[in-house]
Amino acid sequence: MDHLDELENQSIFILREAYKNFKNLAMLWSIGKDSTILVWLARKAFFGHCPIPLVHIDTTYKIPAMIEYRDHYAKKWGLNLVVGKNQKALDEGMNHEKGRIVCCEALKTQGLQCIMDEHGYTGLILGIRRDEEGTRAKERYFSPRDKNFEWNFKDQPPELWDQYKTTFADDTHIRIHPILHWTELNVWEYILREKIPIIDLYFATPEGKRYRSLGCAPCTGTIDSNAKNVAEIVEELKHNTTTSERSGRAQDQENTYAMQKLRARGYM
């Protein structure tokens, strides 16, 4: 059993715990590499099936290729896709020019809140990882949110011996993070090994640019890279790991504790 097998087995265990313990569960699929490997891991955990609905929060500012990719694979893999939108905020003209944090909260966090209310989801599976940024490093695999979606990071449940918080008061919900322990390099190594089809925005253009993290078009930048396929990305990451993965994500740099503030209020 190599390291990727260990990661995979642990994630499958967590997905199965989630599926068993939460009656109304959904998985967030942002179309990025992390949540796409989550879909893959779910199919491994459930022997070719994905019994958990996939929620995509459409801010309408997503890079168009992401929507094409989403619809193609949702059909091909027989996924139950649920698309959510904060129509009210969009109608009122919300966009990133009103402030990146304000926009993220309105279109993503509240967009998510709406769809969770609508479907009554009590558990939400997300593809976040500890190595992405400092605040996420402090997450749990099973992380409670109160009725206002708030994350009380000062009083998190203990997690030991793969026993997770699976009981909770009404009007709270649980976020489940099955790939919390993976690194960016692990994700790409796994994509390479499993031959998981991944959206080509991650691959370098002839001009030597690629996305390392995907988000909304106005707030997501490319990095300089010549990595044209998965194997080349793995090599690139092995030799150049001193730039942070989310360096192309504008909202993180907005101010000192931007990410903590966003996440405490329910951001993914």
Binding site: D2, E6, N9, A137, K138
Partner: protein
């Protein structure tokens, strides 16, 4: 990050390491220093943190690299566990920085529980403190015995060897009392980078390894493939035509064709396939740490919580056992209150049966005559579960010998099972029954074949109730009606068993022992495929539980004739209803049909 050009699978040697110790003894500083000295920080991270310090008018500290939460940086203490990746030329590490503040013990436990080795930090100037001891104890309880002690802030005591030796002696004594041996005591200054990555000149008297050298000497824990096979069932899936038993192999190996047994139910079957999706070839063996699924040759009832093992390596099944427990709850752990125990995938209500010893974990003092423990303390105690659980002793198979306790919605304690000796009558009987079942010589005629011939499955029907309620006539009518319908019915009267099989019992032993003998005789009739009917005035709850235990896996149906039902009978008949034995007998037969015990004859197939 280094690239040593070694093509061996470097990533497979990831080492999980936790750093613990008293608050403010410099854990985060040490981690920050390790990151910086191994070149593991991303570009701009150092500058970013330095900028923040400047904005807030603070001096830069390495700890800020780790303490990502605003509150952590403002208060200068780690609140939650951080996990940071870095590597040395030898291997990769994930380093877990656990908070040292007493308030955050649960976060420390979270960090330490899945580490393979630990560094315990002690401030040279402050010496051994409350959390130094408590963390030492918790590490031991978590089964983490690969420990090195780092004596930090040596710069504040002029790199004095005497200070080092004094702490070393004091803490060695403490660890010895726990049965733990520290691998090394390393004097360092994390802030100034002394003896972290390089041995510096400040302490020529120290000849041991640097912190990084020490880390590289820690050993990876071998996977428990050599231990008995343990597979707690996580779930049973029926997404397509396959009925897949899903779970993780905690220890040992499983092969296609193995005969497996599920505890506590003792049901058996043979593994038909090991299932997997998107793999080069279908596996026929599974080993520890693998999350797998398999199908069985027979459709037996299996559910989450059952522990699957091989026939000759059974787990213990009991409702009582001794454990060492640490407590993190806001409310006390005390007698008389119900908690939920989560042991692998088993989840059962439990309570403390007896406090053997309550201990203050910061001093190791026994809190005498105390039948509760408060937050941050530990205890040796006996737990009693509402229904039997399957487990091992922590010392033999760690992953099936540990559990957490849930109070209301929250995980509030953790524990390891230290000893088991059947103390209650029920546990003793269960042990006996299990031994009987595993050694039972089975007939070549399968129970299903008998059921097909008889038109019914074997079952024990217990008619209970107050004296004079008409149970006897009802039992006789039922036996007769079943017989008339060509079913194999037999009325097993307890008096007859007492007259013969139990004739040797004296007055003092007859009460317990006669129920056991009745159960064993009933078991023989059940094995022969009969519908056994039994009735007695003397049936009380305990006897009934014994009979159920003895009759397992055959179904036991309780018919209670009473005006005030107790327990959970399958059918309750009022005294009036029981008077009309014929109608009551029909009602019982309808129920047996509904439960698919009476299936009807079908010789034409």
């Amino acid at each position: 990050m280094s690239d040593n050009g070694n093509n061996l699978d470097l990533s497979s040697r990831l080492m999980r390491l936790v750093i613990v110790g008293h608050v403010d003894h410099g854990k985060s500083t040490l981690v920050g220093r390790l990151l910086s000295d191994t070149g593991s920080l991303s570009d701009g991270k150092l500058e970013f943190v330095k900028d923040i310090c400047e904005q807030q008018g603070k001096t830069f500290e390495f700890a800020f690299l780790l303490d990502a939460l605003q509150e952590e940086q403002e208060q200068g203490i780690t609140i939650d566990t951080s996990q940071i990746f870095f590597d040395t030329p030898k291997r990769k590490y994930v380093i877990i920085d656990a908070p040292g503040h007493k308030e955050f013990l649960k976060n420390m436990v979270t960090g330490a529980a899945d580490a393979e080795a630990a560094l315990l930090l002690i401030d040279a100037k402050e010496g051994v403190q409350e959390q130094s001891r408590r963390h030492g104890y918790i590490l031991k309880l978590l089964g983490l015995t690969q420990v090195a002690v780092v004596i930090n802030k040596m710069d504040l005591v002029d790199y004095d060897e005497k200070v080092y030796s004094k702490i070393k002696t004091e803490y060695t004594d403490f660890l010895e009392s726990l049965g733990v041996e520290a691998r090394e005591f390393i004097p360092v200054s994390a802030k100034l980078g002394v003896n972290i990555a390089e041995l510096k000149d400040e302490m020529p008297w120290y000849k041991g390894p640097t912190v990084l050298n020490m880390l590289d000497q820690f050993e990876k824990k071998p996977r428990p493939d050599h231990l008995p096979f343990r597979f707690p069932v996580q779930d049973v899936y029926k997404f397509d035509e396959r009925r897949i038993i899903a779970g993780r192999v905690e220890s040992g190996k499983l092969k296609v064709g193995d005969r497996v047994i599920f505890s506590p139910s003792s049901k058996q079957a043979v593994v038909k396939t090991i299932e997997a999706w998107s793999v080069p070839e279908q596996p026929n063996v599974a080993t520890s740490s693998e999350s797998i699924g398999f199908t069985l040759d027979e459709q037996i009832f299996v559910e989450r919580g059952d522990v699957c093992t091989l026939m000759d390596e059974l787990p213990i099944v009991s409702t009582t056992f001794d454990a060492n427990v640490f407590w993190m709850g806001k409310r006390n752990l005390e007698k008389g209150r119900k908690f939920t125990i989560k042991l692998n995938t088993q989840e059962v209500e439990c309570e403390v049966h007896e406090f053997k010893k309550a201990i203050d974990a910061s001093t190791l003092e026994t809190l005498s005559n105390q039948d509760h423990i408060a937050k941050n303390d530990v205890a040796e105690l006996t737990l009693k579960t509402r229904s039997p659980v399957a487990f091992d002793l922590f010392g033999s198979i760690a992953s099936t010998g540990r559990f957490v306790l849930v109070d209301e919605y929250d995980v509030c304690g953790g524990g390891i099972i230290t000893t088991y000796s059947p103390t209650t009558k029920e546990d003793k009987l269960r042990d006996e029954v299990r031994t009987r079942d595993f050694n039972w010589i089975k007939s070549d005629i399968k129970p299903e074949e008998r059921a097909y011939r008889n038109g019914h499955r074997a079952a024990l029907i217990l008619i209970t109730g107050e004296p004079g309620s008409g149970k006897g006539p009802l039992a006789r009518t039922l036996e007769h009606n079943l017989f008339q319908n060509n079913f194999q019915s037999y009325l097993l009267d307890r008096r007859n068993v007492n007259l013969g099989v139990s004739a040797d019992l004296s007055e003092s032993t007859v009460e317990d022992e006669s129920a056991r003998r009745l159960g064993e005789v009933a078991k023989l009739f059940l094995d022969a495929g009969h519908v056994v009917i039994s009735t007695s005035n003397a049936f009380h709850k305990e006897d009934q539980e014994d009979l159920r235990l003895l009759a397992n896996p055959y179904q036991v149906i309780e018919i209670q004739v009473t005006s005030q039902p107790t327990g959970e009978p399958d059918i309750t008949l009022s005294l009036d209803e029981a008077q009309d034995a014929k109608a009551a007998s029909t009602k019982i037969q309808d129920f047996l049909k509904e439960k698919k015990i009476l299936m009807g004859h079908n010789y034409s197939i």
